[in-house]
């Protein structure tokens, strides 16, 4: 957990938490952070953004009660620049090899599954992933990922709407 920005006021409950994975130092791995910077001013007031680098169980345990979750990450297993949105449990057992780029010690489904077990309830929400081409050291996005940033930002905003937990 490196930083958090809350758009909601102290008295307003958090509707959706956006957990942003990746590293600005590693090429296309920085696309999620750049995308959230581009949409930050357009975010609804009840959205809290947290930069988490690599998704950890505690990041999900820290989600406010009743809030939906949007996880934004770079991915491998899909074409560079391709943007996908899927349910938060949608990575488990995929035959196409799609998986988040930034998950290391524990696989993404394990992180989500363990968090759900600790919470005692499902993690409701969506994952927005963008296929990356290069993850080596360096800040620049690859051409195809840079070209896909408008689609990524639009998908993030849509996913936030679709992740709200009905009251």
């Amino acid at each position: 957990m490196t930083s958090a920005t809350r758009h909601s006021t102290a008295s307003q409950p958090i509707g959706v938490e956006v957990l942003v994975c990746g590293s600005m130092d590693r090429g296309d791995d920085g696309a999620p952070m750049l995308a959230i910077d581009l949409v930050r001013k357009a975010l609804p007031d009840d959205v809290r953004v947290r930069i988490v680098s690599e998704l950890d169980i505690d990041d999900l345990l820290g989600v406010a009660p009743g809030a939906g979750v949007v996880i934004v990450d770079a991915a491998i297993g899909i074409d560079a620049g391709e943007v996908v949105e899927l349910p938060i449990n949608g990575f488990a057992g995929r035959p196409d090899g799609l998986r988040p780029r930034s998950s290391h010690a524990l696989e993404f489904p394990e992180v989500v599954g363990l968090a759900e077990m600790m919470r005692g309830r499902p993690v409701d929400g969506r994952v927005v992933a963008i296929g990356g081409a290069a993850f080596g050291l360096g800040g620049a996005l690859s051409r195809r990922v840079a070209a896909a940033m408008p689609e990524l930002t639009a998908t993030i905003l849509g996913a936030i709407d679709r992740s709200r937990v009905p009251s």
Binding site: D25, H104, A105, G113, L114, M117, M118, G136, L137
Partner: protein, 441 residues
């Protein structure tokens, strides 16, 4: 998520090809070939993109370097910071306040607690209890997983407070820290650390009783040793065959080499011998300086001798070090008195700087050359996993014939379990590589 092929032919033949090692840090694979009972190939292949940090820090100031190297790894950034800052301070002759020394040790304790708790409970324990993943294990052992997460959280809190944030800390500065810490701030950690000591002791009881494969390695162990404290930031580099050199002199005994099958450089002794670092080596070579609480826990297990030779017992060594790090953290918190100044002033100068510290996975070495403006002109960063890689491969070669009689799945499990015993951090190991590498046909 990995593809594993175990192909067996006639008796005495085994091919294991694990394309994506799981529950290790980073991305790597194993290729193992045994023919007529003899190991023909045992290659730990590390294929994360090479990281050019050694080039990146050239032209930077020491304080910039301290922040940059922390980004090499999300699991052990403190190890990189501590090694760099001690190298620069030694090279430039900077003396730090005793309170700074204590806080840096507390910061390192936090990282050890985070790293060891993650590895013991979520990466390694599933192997011993017969589960394919931490998630599967959690269905039957939720309390164990919760203990691991609570311990890890205690380490996170220490690193977050002293380092300024939980991942890639930013507060370490040449001569001290970017700010002073009040006694009340440090004392606020006490509650979680007291709980962590108890959980760490329970961890030792849990892992000491695990059914463990028998494997005796007869290799070289290398670690730091300090006369008054368990080695972290200071000491001398020693081995189980009589080596005893200053932390600045790593290059007099060891060197890095390139191998065709891996993006990571491998380190060996200048005589070509592989060597093993990490908790096994530290307990064996510096166990007499464990915190008394940890020393008593080790004695209760009766496993000190086996830890020295059986890598599968490294889970016990990590648990003992969890006790050591939590107990020492508590001592530092209780004794803390703020320094008069946050950081000792210093002047840029030309210098040669080198130092080693003990990362959770083992000894890490840095060397830098500074010009008269105090800017880095050359850097060498040697992480633990690239030093352990040759020993891991040698151990795999020695162990593989023992699994020939097992089923495919059992053989694979035993081999993966052995690799995880070394807690390789592949993200760290790929620190730099000359790209003119030869392709293996």
């Amino acid at each position: 998520m990995h593809d594993t092929n175990v192909l067996t032919g006639p008796p005495g033949h085994l091919e294991v090809d694990i394309a994506g090692l799981t529950r290790v840090e980073g991305e790597g694979s194993l290729r193992l070939q045994v023919r007529n009972g003899a190991v023909e190939k045992a290659h730990l292949e590390i294929f994360e993109a090479p990281r050019y940090f050694e080039r990146l820090v050239v032209g930077r100031t020491p304080d910039e370097v301290i922040d940059i190297v922390a980004r090499i790894c999300g699991i052990c950034p403190v190890a990189y910071q501590m090694t760099a800052v001690h190298a620069f301070e030694h090279g430039l002759g900077i003396e730090v306040d005793p309170a700074v020394r204590a806080l840096r040790r507390l910061l390192y304790c936090g990282e050890w607690i985070e790293s060891h708790a993650l590895h013991v409970y979520l990466l390694h324990l599933p192997d011993f209890l017969g589960y394919a993943s931490a998630l599967e294990m959690a269905h039957d052992h939720q309390a164990a997983v919760e203990s691991g997460l609570t311990l890890k959280r205690a380490g996170n809190k220490i690193v977050e407070l002293i380092g300024g944030r939980a991942i890639h800390p930013v507060s370490v500065r040449l001569g001290g820290f970017s700010r002073s810490f009040r006694r009340t701030e440090i004392r606020a950690l006490r509650g979680v650390v007291v709980e962590a000591v108890e959980l760490a002791l329970a961890t030792v009881d849990l892992v000491a009783g695990l059914d463990t494969p028998t494997f005796e390695r007869d290799g070289r162990l290398v670690a730091m040793r300090h006369p008054r404290e368990y080695p972290m930031n200071e000491g001398r580099i020693v081995s189980n065959d009589g080596l005893d050199i200053a932390t600045t002199d790593w290059r007099s005994e060891f060197s890095e080499q390139q191998v065709a099958w891996s993006n990571a450089l491998q380190s060996r002794g200048r005589d070509g011998r592989a060597y093993l670092l990490g908790p096994m080596a530290r307990i064996t070579l510096a166990g007499e300086s464990l915190h008394p609480v940890a020393a008593a826990a080790l004695a209760r297990t009766g496993l000190a001798a086996e830890i020295a030779i059986n890598p599968y017992r490294s889970i016990v060594a990590r648990a003992i070090e969890l006790v050591d790090a939590t107990a020492e953290a508590l001592d530092i918190i209780d004794a803390y008195e703020p320094a008069d100044v946050a950081a000792t002033p210093w002047r840029p100068a030309a210098a040669s700087a080198a130092w080693a510290t003990e990362a959770p996975r083992g000894l890490i070495f840095h060397a830098y050359e500074l010009d008269e403006r105090g800017l880095v002109t050359h850097a060498q960063i040697v992480p633990p996993t690239s030093q352990n890689q040759a020993a891991i491969e040698a151990d795999l070669a020695a162990f593989a014939p023992r699994v020939l009689e097992l089923s495919h799945s059992q053989a694979t499990l035993r081999i993966e379990q052995l690799i995880r015993s070394y807690d390789p951090c592949i993200s760290c190991a790929t620190h730099f590589l000359d790209l003119s590498m030869e392709e293996v046909p």
